[in-house]
Amino acid sequence: MSDVYVVGIGMTKFGKHPDRTVVDLGSEAVREAIRDADIDPRRVEAAYCGHVFQGMVAGQRVLAQTGLAGIPLTNVEDACSSGAVAVREAALAIRAGEHDVVLAWGMEHLTGRFRGALTPAEDDLEAAVGLTMPAIYAMRARRHMEEFGTTRRQLALVSVKNKRNASLNPLSQFQTPVSVEEVLASRPIAEPLCLYDCSPVSDGAAAAILCSARRLRQLTRAHRPIRLVAAALRSGEVETGLPSMAFEPLTRRTAEAAYEQAGIGPEEVDLAEVHDCFSIAEVLRVEGLGLFPVGEYPARLERGEADIGGTLPVNPSGGLLGKGHPLGATGVAQVVELVRQLRGEAGARQVAGARVGLAHCRGGKAAGIEGAACTVNILAA
């Protein structure tokens, strides 16, 4: 398998941008990634764009604004994993030898499009009986509490940690830390989850330039390149029987594929950006990834093990809960954060000595399957 490197990154501020368009946001992130890679835009040979609700050929509209029109472009939709899948597709194109320099970006403009809870597809059986995304995670939280004794306060600590980390990230939607009491006092959304247990409605974009090993030697740039050592994707299996809702086999299977590609185990991961769309989601992700033993994460989080400066920092960027969650952009923004961390350019939230970073996304819900799309990308300095 030929090596793939990330040589340029760009990201807009995440948050509410009612006066900007998705093309405007996407173009900003793409331009910044090209500038950061210090390459002529004409060197970019192909592009993959992740988005969910931005309509037909949104990616091509960004190419037209960034000097890239004419190259092969693929729009990618895999719900909340769309951006991460775009990164993987870019890496596959390089590994296949088809291209040497490929752009992957994700973007989403949700302000004004949605208010409140997202739901599965309209014709989904569970959506038809009233299921919302917060409701499914609330029911999974209830099971984690039931099976492992997880407390409501421990779940709140996920949001407290991630909003604290977000306050150290100038591009985050939330810039102010919150207390456990504030999380618990925020209005109920789907019990036991409250407003501050849920990721917000966000607009934003993030971009990365990927490059082959042979082309890397021709690039002259100051940053050290960061190697993409795994890019794994799995779709959810049909559920049969009565599986536990407090554990994620889909995340476990995707992680195993990624660890095998990277030739490492979970114990070698120094920091992780995981799909914390809800507070309970971070618990399910890190346990599914094998980064913490099943059922133990809430207690270990309480002891500070997942803090910046802890044994395994989780979501130092602020995660979806703190940084924001513009769906298609999220998976690329995780890669942007890992590259900053592995370059040693993460400023106040820098994880000391970070060598290996893992990014996990999980997107989509449909009745009868365990989840839709799951990705694990691993980067190494």
């Binding site: 059986l125 009986v129 009233g130 919302t132 409701a135 789907a190 019990e191 049969t240 009565l242």
Partner: protein, 144 residues
């Protein structure tokens, strides 16, 4: 879309095309499918087994009672679902888990493991005046 255009007010339509049997004659029954080859059970019913790909699928009525696996009280939803409401997953003896609204019990009385009963009922009227036939969960015994 063609279906909606042909709708007439007062028409009763199932919440999903593969959840009921017997709409034509007597009382509609909630049904699933059991694979004749590997024994896997599915709800809603399906033509091909997702586990072994056999097409030998038997349509089987669901048992009416089961155990509450997990639940939530929903406080924010889409406009067609007035809040608050309780949603619960019930585990049925045939080895299938089903999501439905839970009614007939106060939110603070709901417990994991409690016995629940399924009832086929009209759920709401859609924008074209059609009655949506679905199902709800009640505490077993029926009362509040």
């Amino acid at each position: 879309m063609g279906e909606a255009a042909a709708a007439s007010p007062g028409q009763v339509v199932p919440i999903h095309p593969e959840v009921f049997a017997g709409e034509g004659g007597g009382e509609p029954l909630l049904v699933g499918s059991r694979c004749q080859r590997c024994g896997a059970f599915f709800f809603p019913r399906r033509q091909v087994c997702a586990r072994c790909l056999s097409a030998e699928m038997e349509v089987v009525p669901l048992s009416g009672t089961g155990t509450l696996y997990t639940y939530t009280v929903v406080h924010q939803s889409t406009p067609e679902f007035p809040t608050p409401y309780i949603l619960a997953y019930v585990d049925l003896p045939e080895g299938v888990r089903l999501l439905a609204p839970l009614v007939g019990v106060a939110a603070d009385q709901v417990r994991v493991g409690m016995r629940l009963r399924l009832r086929v009922e009209p759920l709401r009227t859609d924008a074209t005046g059609r009655t949506i036939l679905g199902y709800r969960l009640y505490p077993d015994g029926g009362g509040a």
